[in-house]
């Protein structure tokens, strides 16, 4: 029976279940939801699994490297980086160590670490606390991205990243999704990476959206669909490997919509 809860609550509830099921999972840091919902769940998690939760000093380079090394030795660390731009402090360890170790070792050393970060404009963050680094990480061989768009996604993608994946994952949760509410499936609900979720089917235009742009694109489709009777939309929410998705012949005029830029909206709604 799915339960109705917020994105933040879903994330922390899922993590509590994961830590109960898989002793390899450790948490480095532990803000996760920032000032968003899920605080009560977080307090309970911190109490229940204190021996597997470490509070690091302000040393992103150091603790992101520690997490990668721990993953090489068999743990499955979840690192809470906090605001996504803080991950720039750790680029050498994420991009130039964690991401390349599997390739460098000729397929021997797995690095199943999850770097969790909150991205996007939260309001009042200025230029250094509002970043959206996903294109940067997307262009890094060896890294995979997970960008949940709903409370259900938060659980399903976190379980896959922490319990199934053999690769380093950049897990991006939008700052302003934390209080969104929705149904979350019970039990071992997992969303496999590499497959798109079709949110709305249509005929003319395809929007490939991620994270917070999924609910926004759906809302836009609702409005624009009323104004233009011929307009039909495909809205897909990819989880990773978007290149394969974008080349699918089923898609109509694909446009990637992952930041609120006018140019992508224009491209998506233009007719030949």
């Amino acid at each position: 029976m799915p339960q109705d809860m917020t994105f933040g609550e879903s994330l922390i509830t899922a993590l509590e279940e994961i830590m109960g099921q898989d002793r390899r999972v450790v948490l480095i840091g532990g803000g996760l939801v920032g000032t968003g919902s899920g605080q009560a769940q977080l307090a309970r998690l911190r109490e229940k699994y204190s021996s597997r939760i470490k509070n690091p000093p302000i040393a992103e380079l150091g603790f992101c490297g520690i997490a990668a090394g721990a993953a090489m030795a068999g743990l499955r660390p979840l690192v809470d980086i906090g605001t996504a731009t803080f991950s720039y402090e750790a680029i050498p360890q994420i991009v130039n160590e964690a991401a390349i170790a599997y390739s460098n070792s000729g397929g021997q050393t797995n690095v199943p670490v999850v770097y969790f970060m909150r991205y996007g404009i939260r309001g009042g963050g200025g230029v250094q606390h509002s970043g959206s680094p996903q294109p940067w990480y997307w262009n890094t061989p060896g890294l995979q991205l997970a960008m949940p768009a709903s409370p259900a996604d938060a659980k399903g993608l976190l379980r896959t990243a922490l319990m199934r994946s053999q690769n380093p994952t950049i897990f991006l949760a939008h700052e302003r999704l934390m209080d969104d509410r929705g149904p979350v499936p019970d039990g071992d609900y997992e969303i496999p990476f590499g497959h798109a979720a079709v949110k709305r089917e249509g005929r003319d235009v395809t929007i490939i959206a991620t994270g917070i742009q999924v609910p926004r694109a759906l809302a836009a489709a609702e409005v624009l669909g009323k104004n233009e009777s011929r307009q039909r939309w495909w809205i897909l929410e990819p989880c990773s490997r978007w290149i394969r998705l974008a080349s699918s012949p089923r898609l109509k005029r694909p446009a990637v919509w992952w930041s609120p830029m006018k140019v992508t909206i224009t491209a998506a709604s233009r007719r030949d």
Partner: protein, 340 residues
């Protein structure tokens, strides 16, 4: 000072030190004798053999070791097969990393050298990570991370050291000072002594002569035991004696291949390099020590060297005859498990 171990183990240490020397003499010849066999530059461990071999002699197969761009010696010291090391150095499919790592990044996961970074300081935090894993998993494994004096100029050194001390990780920071950076110039680090830096973070610190097998082995054995007992982390500065062939991006056999007989008669060494081979070469110093104090004859040492040279020659032949990876496999190993 000879290590307090059996004669057989003492000779085992010499054998590994000689293997590193002979294997790396082949690496230098690979570069000198074959066009494009080694593309780009490379680094060797010659002159630092006593440190890596003696430290690894104090470890078990379950302990983790991290290395640097100067990794060939560490991999052999941890028990690496010289065939697979040399094959990897020249990018062959039969190498430890199927030819993907090359000279800069030789790693050997089966020996618990899980990843080798050629970025200065790149492995320091990763090493704290395997040590953290051992702590969480409640195993007795320790991690030793080798790095050079230059890594202490990097910010990650400070962060890893601070974290390791705060979390009391089973980790030994093993700085091999080869005086290529701060230790030599005095202009790239502002500390009076590099060992003052870990001391400022309350990390137990020892400074030793890295060319002295017995001293390195004793120090490492004590610290490994204490680290297993939960007293880590520790910091060791092992001061090595820079080999004169190591100048520049392409090391050269400036005195030719090492003659083991130079251990007791260095008159055959070209004069410019004679003092290093007579007083600084850890391999020759240890061989001489075994003869003078260990009851080992010169003949035994020469016999051992002949065996090692034969094995190293065979390893070089194996590497040269091994195939390069299939170009079609160039994109393999970007993602494990097909991307999940």
């Amino acid at each position: 000072m000879l290590a307090d171990i059996s004669r057989e183990e003492q000779l085992g240490i010499l054998r590994k030190m000689l293997m590193i020397r002979r294997a790396e003499e082949h690496v230098i010849r690979f570069n000198e004798d074959y066009k494009d066999l080694i593309r780009g530059h490379f680094h060797v461990y010659i002159g630092q053999e006593a440190t890596g071999v003696s430290v690894c002699a104090a470890l078990t197969s379950a302990d983790y070791v991290f290395s640097t761009h100067r990794n060939h010696g560490h991999v052999i010291a941890k028990g690496g097969d010289p065939k697979k090391v040399l094959a990897e150095i020249i990018g062959r499919e039969t190498g430890y990393c199927r030819g993907r790592a090359g000279t800069f990044h030789v790693a050997a996961p089966e020996l618990r050298i899980v990843h080798t970074s050629a970025i200065v300081g790149g492995c320091l935090a990763l090493a704290a990570g395997t040590a953290f894993a051992s702590q969480v998993q409640e195993t007795s494994a320790v991690t030793v991370v080798f790095f050079g004096d230059g890594a202490m100029e990097e910010g990650v050194f400070y962060e890893a050291l601070n974290l390791a001390k705060l979390w009391q990780l089973p980790l030994i920071f093993l700085m091999e000072n080869n005086y290529r950076r701060a230790g030599r110039s005095g202009v790239s680090h502002s500390a009076t002594e590099l060992a003052d830096v870990p001391r400022a973070l309350n990390v137990d610190t020892t400074v030793i002569d890295g060319g002295n097998v017995g001293l390195v082995y004793k120090t490492a054995s004590d610290l490994v035991r204490r680290t297993r007992a939960g007293e880590g982390p520790f910091f060791v500065e092992a001061r090595t004696h820079p080999w004169p062939g190591n100048e520049g991006a392409h090391p050269k056999l400036v005195a030719g291949a090492t003659h083991i007989a130079w251990a007791w008669d260095a008159s055959g060494v070209p004069e410019k390099m004679r003092s290093w081979y007579a007083e600084g070469d850890p391999v020759l110093l240890y061989a001489r020590e075994l003869v003078e104090q260990g009851g080992v004859s010169r003949d035994e040492i020469q016999q051992l060297d002949a065996e090692v040279r034969k094995d190293a020659d065979e390893a070089a032949r194996f590497a040269l005859e091994s195939p390069l990876p299939d170009p079609k496999a160039a994109l393999n190993f970007a993602y494990a498990g097909g991307g999940n």
